[in-house]
Amino acid sequence: MSSSTDSPTLTTETTQLSPQPDTETAKPTKKITLKSSDNQIFEVEESVAMEFATVKSFFEDSPSTDTVPLPNVTAKPLSQVIEFCKEQIKFKANPDEAQKKKYNAEFVTEKSDKDLVDMIPVANYLEIKDLLDVLNQAVADRIENKSVEYVRSFFGIDNDFTAEEEAALRREHAWAYEGVDED
């Protein structure tokens, strides 16, 4: 059943040299277009896009499309995520754990707090596990030993506790507030 359904007349594109769509030569050049929620267009190589589990499954469901809309993702974090995945693919082809570690560390240290926090929902939505691990670790490092107020502004969280409620919660675990860094 399965073997007879593919190939012949489907190829409308004229430039294909080989009859089979997924030969070794065709792969690296194929581009996929990603559209961010603020309508910016990103052209990335297929191999990069396949790092995004969400995009990958989108293609498996509807292979004929060439533009993937990403309604939850804005342009800036998306461009940074693409940058990260491009590098990871190089490491995949050419495994070097030490270099990879170094790159991952540099990738997060040069980002601002806001950039880091903005990338987490993107990495989660696109299901890029490696990046999510790197980001979570980096964020944890930056809020380590910081005061509650600092972490609130770090994540941009609105405090919806009343002053009394918060004081009561702090009293309950007063021991945990010893030895916190000044901001």
């Binding site: 939850n72 987490i120 490092d141 972490v151 941009g156 969280i157 919660l169 675990h173 021991w175 010893e178």
Partner: protein
């Protein structure tokens, strides 16, 4: 997918709980507790976070820190046991500053009510399929471990310190790594039965332990790393050496074997020698030994560097 307004500054709180749990898992327990007051949303996230590391020094500033600490541990564990089917990781460390107001002499045991609460914590923390366990006491005397935790079929990595346990009651069929530091083993059968009670053990460290008359690593087919130092009470003499090494055949072929022993102890060095002889019969790979230069010339290789960190942990 929730469309989420783009302008909302706080996108982090909209993430699924398990992503925030991942961030929390990189933080120490007091930090996780502090973050519970960020907002109602985060308090909810905290209320389902499986805390697993409990270290008492955070409570050292309180005159009743010991009780506060143990009650905090007990409550957290009770909550987790209600929320989760498994509690896979449990780390518990209790230090002597916390018994100050109750122990007027250094040599008195823990007050009985505190002792009972700690036993309760350990039982709670180990009865739901714990895989990674670490229990350390730094108190006057040894803490007697409850027998219930000596038989956990899921346990994989176990590290104990400052306690005493009934060696005959051990049953850890999945155990791969065991590290005992300053532990009193109250029954020689612990070593005798190791191949039956912990047949899968791969790494084994004994540091400053007492209560063993001899070491017999027989029948441990998976064991490829052993570290032993300052083992009090080992009997000296010829008979002992024989008993020590009987039956150790080394792990499967082509696995490197490493044995580190205290340099000065003649008994242990002899043990290392015979263990080496037996292990090399099955293994062409050299066995690494902590031996002197002279012995090294005889063809035994010395370990390159100190034993790995896991064997040194205190």
């Amino acid at each position: 997918m929730n469309t989420g307004s783009l302008n909302a500054a706080d996108r982090i709180s909209q993430l699924p709980d398990d992503i925030i749990h991942l961030i929390l898992s990189f933080l120490s327990t007091p930090e996780v507790v502090r973050l519970s007051v960020l907002s109602k949303e985060w308090h909810q996230v905290y209320a389902t976070f499986p805390l697993s590391e409990f270290y008492s020094p955070s409570f050292a500033d309180y005159f009743d820190g010991g009780f506060r600490f143990v009650i905090f541990v007990y409550k957290s564990l009770l909550r987790q046991c209600r929320q989760y089917r498994n509690v896979p990781k449990f780390q518990f460390s209790f230090t002597k500053e916390l018994c100050r107001p109750y122990v007027y002499s250094e040599h008195l045991p823990l007050p009985w009510d505190l002792d009972r609460l700690i036993t309760g914590c350990i039982e709670l923390g180990t009865h739901k399929g714990v895989k990674e366990l670490s229990i350390y006491f730094s108190i006057p005397g040894y803490y007697k471990l409850p027998e219930a935790m000596l038989s956990v079929k899921e346990l994989v990595v176990c590290s104990l310190g400052g306690c005493i346990f009934n060696g005959a009651a051990i049953n850890w069929p999945s155990l791969r790594e065991l590290s005992l530091n300053n532990v009193q083993i109250s029954d020689q059968r612990f070593i005798d039965n190791l191949s039956l009670t912990c047949p899968l053990i791969e790494k084994f460290a004994l540091v400053e332990c007492s209560g063993l008359k001899y070491l017999q690593l027989s029948g441990l087919r998976k064991l490829f790393f052993f570290f032993g130092t300052r083992l009090y009470g080992l009997k000296k003499g010829k008979g002992c050496t024989k008993a020590c090494c009987s039956g150790y055949n080394g792990p499967g072929p082509n696995r490197k074997v490493a044995f580190y022993f205290e340099r000065k102890s003649k008994t242990l060095r002899t043990l290392a020698h015979s263990a080496w002889a037996k292990a090399t019969r099955n293994n062409k790979e050299a066995l690494e030994l902590g031996l002197t230069k002279k012995e090294n010339k005889k063809g035994l290789r010395r370990p390159n560097g100190a034993p790995p960190a896991w064997a040194q942990r205190s």
